[in-house]
Symmetry: C2
Subunit: 251 residues, 2 copies
């Protein structure tokens, strides 16, 4: 499975993680995983420092089809930070009365930003430092929750200041929009009615498009690697940041 | 089951929620539940707006013995705030690079504090407002994580300013200590070696003391109502705030 996966839809959609491929890749991604689902303003975040094939939390997620408009998932191979619950993505913080969820793929070398405000890392990963710095700077730029368009402009100014330290592929959401940035590898796909296939499926993840049948329904997926080989996945350009709202890119 | 339950131990201890009593009380506490487990600096929080007898998340917790030194659980009967995921206790925020978890039992009437700093409620409960205000004022009182003793003194100044608005029984933890405040009803018990009973058990919760066998091992439990009828549960006095560290009260 991809290291990063994001889903943004205009109607709550089931996403089921079968984890059948997790055990195959256990040696590669054995250092934890996490999945966050927004339900309106609330968020449900499952993280585990155990590999997915040994985790009761993974069992739950495999059995529990959660309907959500915004999903962020991450499989962790530890590169910076020791293996511990507090280092598992996605990370969650509150800003402007909204929860923000963030997952990162890549390494930031020598990244030690000045964190002088309200957001401090709990663990010791470069990823959580970057998330705290983004929130700190976002809080300076807006007095309350900006529109997705406004925040996209802000992020396009902020993100390059982090990305120059290394590889900064990330997905972030506040339950209103889903932002994705590519340093090296990230793909996206928008599926709309009529859906050629009833289900999108690989070894690890199933999105039940049978729930999405109206002519207005749309699902945007963002993943490190394409999840299917017969659809028109678009590669992000290096340095590209996109925002998805209601299952479609704002650009 | 009690509406609030807290556990603080000096060694990680299994706590298992059988939920057998939840369904009996479904009409009374049908508006969600939540449980947070600290694992060192990390925290694992399970919340659900569904009643526990209908929730796959409850199934997970029933089957999954999580070893933790600090646990906070809450069963919700909605009084203020609509039934939604974002209104489920416990609430979590980060301050000073530590996660803080908070659960409240009671009502605060007309409580609308000035929240001018970094902590804003996501939902619409009086409980989350009180938690945000406490964190805001704690952040003004200390530049970094205070000792449990220092924070206890601060909380004893702050908490009465909230409690005068109504009923403010709460449990809070940052994974280093567990604080509990009583307005109307809260009990505590410290169990130490040698344990007279192998297991503490009522309809809803089992703490496996078989894991806790050394002469130094201690478990403090805080609950709205005593969980057993043959042990020396102490009632909190109205207005009393206690801090528990390593399974024992600081006072």
């Amino acid at each position: 499975m991809c290291e990063l996966l994001g889903m943004n839809c205009n109607v709550p959609t089931d996403i089921v993680f079968s984890f059948s491929g997790f055990s195959k890749r256990a040696s590669e991604h054995a250092d934890g995983f996490g999945i966050a689902f927004f339900e309106n303003r609330g968020v449900r975040c499952f993280v585990d420092a155990q590999a997915a094939d040994q985790s009761p939390v993974a069992d739950l997620i495999r059995q529990y089809p959660i309907r959500s408009t915004h999903v962020i998932a991450h499989i962790r191979k530890a590169t910076v930070g020791h293996v511990a619950l507090e280092n598992c993505h996605p990370f969650t913080r509150e800003l402007w009365g909204r929860y923000w969820v963030f997952a990162h793929n890549g390494d930031l070398k020598g990244y030690d930003p000045l964190l002088h405000a309200a957001f401090r890392p709990v663990g010791d990963t470069d990823s959580e430092r970057a998330f705290c710095w983004l929130l700190q700077e976002m809080a300076k730029s807006h007095a309350s929750v900006p529109t997705p368009e406004e925040l996209t402009r802000t992020l396009r100014e902020l993100v390059p200041q982090v990305a120059r330290f290394g590889t900064f592929n990330f997905i972030m959401s506040n339950g209103q929009a889903l932002w994705a940035h590519c340093s090296t590898k990230l793909h996206h796909l928008v599926r709309q009615h009529p859906f050629a296939q009833a289900r999108l499926q690989d070894d690890d993840v199933t999105v039940d498009f049978a729930q999405v049948t109206g002519p207005q329904d749309r699902v945007a997926l963002v993943a490190t690697q394409p999840l299917t080989d017969n659809e028109d996945w678009q590669a992000f350009k290096p340095g590209e940041l996109l925002a998805f709202v209601d299952g479609v890119s704002l650009d």
